[in-house]
């Protein structure tokens, strides 16, 4: 019979904190948000560097090959993941939204084809446009909705066509 132990360790964290009222909590969160806003000013430069890195890595890919080097795909995934993580954190949620599509595709499909490479290229181009125009928020208009919904569908259908799930 498998031996399984379940126990409740004493929480050192709970012993070290003290309760504060809602107003103090709101102020602490607001102070953190204010700090985050002060960091936004530097983000476009970092984004440009990341995008340059992403484009340079993507250039090494042969767009017509169905047998891409794993290290290159890994690098594209990692850079896209960084961009996704930083974008919204620094006030650029649209950047995160688009970069996430690249991550989802690369993280879901075991063998990347030339079709996938084209999908990635479209997303990198879109990231460049967003970065160039310093578009921070996700524009709340019909055309943007259609574009982003279209990109989502491309990713979803591609994954679905291979009988994979995210």
């Amino acid at each position: 019979m498998t031996k399984i132990q379940i126990f409740q360790p004493s929480s050192s964290l709970a012993k070290k904190v003290t309760l504060v009222d809602d107003e103090t909590t709101k102020n602490a969160i607001k102070q953190a948000e204010n700090f985050m806003e002060t960091q936004e000013i530097n983000y476009p430069t970092w984004l440009d560097d990341d995008l340059k890195n992403l484009k340079n890595t993507f250039k090494k890919i042969n767009p017509n090959s169905n047998n891409q080097p794993k290290n290159l795909l890994n690098d594209i995934f990692k850079i896209s993941l960084e961009i996704k993580g930083q974008g919204g954190s620094y006030g650029y949620p649209l950047i995160s939204y688009v970069a996430d599509n690249i991550c989802t595709l690369l993280d879901s499909i075991p063998k990347i084809s030339s079709k996938d490479i084209e999908i990635i290229r479209i997303h990198i181009d879109l990231l460049s446009i967003i970065a160039k125009n310093r578009i921070k928020d996700i524009p709340n208009n019909q055309k943007t909705k259609q574009i982003l919904n279209g990109l989502d569908k491309i990713i979803k259908n591609r994954i679905k066509s291979l009988n994979l799930s995210t």
Partner: protein
Amino acid sequence: MGYNFDNITPIIAEDNQHMRHLIKGILQAFGCKTVKEASNGKEALQIINSSPVDILICDWNMAPINGIELVKEIRNDEISPNPFLPIIMLTGHSQHKRVIEARDAGVDEFVAKPISAKILYEHLKSVIENPRPYVRSPSYFGPDRRRKQIPFDGEDRRKTKPEFEQIPTKKHNLSKKEILSLLQNQDGENL
């Protein structure tokens, strides 16, 4: 109600210096007087092994020693100074399989980037208010992963077709509720 974090010493393990600086600033705004930093899992282990820390906030992709390896070392290494250290994984990964992998490594909380101050605060609060029992089995040591019935008054996204209005939470990403469910989503046989 919330908490004063003055006496909490977190450690951030994150390879991106800008993100590390951002998280540190958020934690300081929450009241943390001392915030320790590591740029990879190896550095984090050295700090954790040599000085007391109360909670780890770690990224996934780092080298040497990535976030998953780091969590496993803390939970399972015989000389680990604190196998019960609360761990929040803060990562760009948000896919189902990644949450499962982090859960099976032994994380307490999983937060998908991009981050917000409010979400990070909520997860810190959750670690304090809802400490999970620990489980030791031949194949796992860490917070209990079994499913718990948690009341949820929001929309059940499994029953509705996701619409565009959910931006920036996309249909192939997991909601906070879904991540929480996955972290506690196993029955007894896989404790």
